[in-house]
Each structure stands twice: as C-alpha cells, then as structure tokens.
Amino acid sequence: MRVSRGFTGSRRGGEPGRLPPGQYDVGSNWPVLTAELTPRVDPDSWTLTVNGRVADPKVWSWQDLRALPPSTYSGDIHCVTTWSKLDTSFTGVSVDELLAAAGPLPEATHMVATSTTGYTTNLPLADITGGKAWIVWEHEGRPLTVEHGGPVRMLVPHLYFWKSAKWIETITLLDHDEPGFWEVRGYHDRGDPWREQRYQGD
C-alpha cells in the first residue's frame, strides 16, 4: 500500500463500517451542491405526476399526497462528493404507494425522475420499490427547505444522493434505461455508495 507522506487524517472515529468507502461524516452540516439555480416552487400549484408505462397515469396535488399514509425514513444519506450525513430523517410517502395507484405495466423496468428545473435522474424500478424510495416534504420534523429540494423531493437513500431528485414533478416509467442529467455527464448509472459506483466504469 502506498501512503501519502505525513498524512494521518483527522476525521476518524464513529463505528467501523458505518461509512461507505471514501465517505466522511459531515456532522450537522448539509451541503447544497445543486447544479441549477434554486427554483421558485409554489406548493399550491405544484403537482406530482406518475406516467409512462403505467395502467392509469396519476396526478397528485401536495394536499393529495399528504392524505396518503405517511412514511418516515430514518438513517444515513451519502453524496458522491464524499460527504455523508448520518442519523437523519425524512417524512413523506413511499413510492410504492404511488406506483400501486398508477399500476406499472409488466414491461416497465426503469424510471426517470424529472424536476421543475428540468433535472433528470434514472433508476431501475427495483431500486424504488419494496420500501426503498420516498417522496418527502419533511426533514427532521420540519418542512423541507427549497435549497434542499422543497417543497417536495425524491429520496432514495441507499444510492448516492444525486439520485434523490430535488423539486420532483414527474416520475415516468419506461421499458428501458434512459440515463439522466449526471448519468450522461460521466457519473455512474446506478450509484451504489457501498460499491463506490461514482463514475462510469466503477
């Protein structure tokens, strides 16, 4: 093993194995590294659409979403820029709930999430079903702020955080994979932090 002369590291500590490889604990910070200007999103006119390869395309208002059974994620999130935020929580609704209403067609294998800003990210359906993904509007008990994707963002905490699209508006089910904003710009198609899938080819 080659070492960096004189480097000892100052961010050690915590439970061994808690952080995925190459990540560090950002503590109470929550960096904002969005590639776009923060949009102005009006919750009263905002809607979430699930369309594409579904039996029954659906549109929910924010009020509609809040009437669905709430679901909370408590755990960690990991950004590809190497920060991780531990023991945090988000509340919203499970993506399973939305898909159950829209009815994915048998040929549906992937999805693309699209934001107000035009940002997109792609995910296999296997990564957003079975209690692995949420549409959230609360962070640690408070309304999600706009710089962090509020009023409503996607949450897919087992993958790098660029997959958790801010200001989400549309979930489109597809019968094929369609790389999104960062995925066509050199980043990995799936982005599993435990396999350190940061860039294409990792």
Partner: protein
C-alpha cells in the same frame, strides 16, 4: 448541446512539481501525471490521501491550468481551517511528493469554446474559471470574455498576475486605497456592468455566493437560464 463527458481514468500517483502560494490560504499544486489526458476547462480532479494504517480521505479540487499546458494539471486548493484534506495539501505537501489523483471529472460546468464568455467567481471559486480564461487566451483569443471576481479583501486576491483587462475585481469587506466602489457583496449593478446578451455564463464559489450571483444574472433577463452554469463549492474540506 451537451456532449457526453468521458468517465475519468483510473487512480494514479502524480508527482508534485511545485506548490505555489496564491495568497495566505490558497495554494496551487502543479502535478505531473504519468497518464495525462486533456481536460475540459472547468473540470476537477479527486485527490485521495492514504494514511499508514490504510485510512483514506478524498476531496475534489478544480483544475486551474488550461488543457493547452500538456502533461500537468494545476489544482488550486483553499485551506479550510477545520478541513482534513486541504490543510494537508496547502501546509504539508512539497515539491517531489506524490499525490494520488483521479480525473478529469465533471461534464456540466465545462467550457468548449463558446462565446461571449461571462465568468463570475467568488473567492477560490475562481479556479475553474481561470482554466477557461487561460484556455481562451491560448486557443480562442477571438472570443470576448469578462470575469467578475469577488474577494473579501485585497490580500485575498488569487491569480493576481494573470488577471487582465477582462477582469473586474469587487471587494466584499475591504477595498484597496482609492477604490471607487465601496466594499460590499455583489450587486445587480456589478452584474449588469459585465453581462453580455448571449453566450454561456459560468458562476462558481460558495453555494450562497453562487445562488445570489446567478439569481442577479437571471434577473437581468439577458440570459437563458439554461446557459447559466453553476459550480457550488460545499464546505467539503
């Protein structure tokens, strides 16, 4: 409009040829790469440090050198007082050391020669736009360019020797003697004075600076928001 950017190459150990102080807290590391590929101005490299016991820490740093300078990359590093990687790079690393790097990375905040070119930078956010400015001087001198560079005080200036007539420096805390503009954060008037009416605009700095400057730029109505490209530096250290 966007061509796919290739994935970065594998990790490699680069040799530090020089560490050049830019100001009290910013230094540029000139690295000689065994396997050099031309980067696009605006891209970054990841630096990975490994301790004796195998502990590693990785952070990203923008390339400030132009791709016309073959065989090397210059990474400009702002030393964050509570950082883990940046104090090591600025204080410990010396010429002759080897540093593990991977890159170039990033396919969004990149310049491919389009003009006129507007650059807006806060503090060490000037690093990737300096790569653009330098590349323009060498390969696209016909492209009109302006840089609006916000720093706290005169002694916080970076790349002072490389800033030409295309650059307007604004000071947020303290101005040099005789300055016509009072110290203060970037304003709509500052932006209006440099904005073109077309072409790409690149805004880089802290997340707050970028949000403010890009909003002012969008509010001029002279730019398609899709052509205002942002690079936010987080408190990653």
């Amino acid at each position: 409009m966007t061509e796919p950017a290739p994935a970065p190459g594998p990790w490699q150990w680069a040799t530090v040829q020089a560490v050049v102080p830019e100001n009290r807290h910013v230094s540029t590391l000139r690295l000689v790469l065994p396997t050099w590929v031309p980067h696009l101005p605006g891209q970054h490299y990841v630096v990975r440090l490994t301790a004796e016991d195998g502990y590693t820490a990785s952070r990203s740093y923008s390339v400030s050198s132009p791709p016309e300078l073959t065989g090397i990359v210059e990474l400009t590093v702002d030393r964050l007082p509570t950082g883990e990687v940046s104090p090591y790079l600025v204080d410990e690393v010396a010429a002759g050391d080897e540093v593990e790097v991977r890159g170039p990375v990033g396919g969004h905040f990149v310049w491919r020669g389009e003009g006129p070119l507007l650059l807006v930078a806060g503090g060490s956010g000037v690093a990737p736009v300096m790569a653009m400015l330098r590349s323009r001087r060498l390969s696209h001198p016909e492209v009109a360019a302006r840089l609006l560079f916000s720093v706290r005080s005169p002694e916080d200036l970076i790349f002072a020797a490389d800033l030409g007539p295309e650059t307007t420096v604004v000071h947020t805390r303290r101005t040099p003697p005789g300055s016509a503009r009072p110290a203060g954060r970037i304003t709509a008037a500052d932006i209006a004075a440099v904005a073109f009416d077309r072409g790409p605009a690149y805004v880089c700095g802290s997340s707050g600076f970028v949000e403010t400057a890009a909003r002012l730029l969008a509010d001029t109505g002279r730019y398609d928001p899709a052509r205002i490209l942002l690079e936010r530096y987080g408190p990653t250290s």
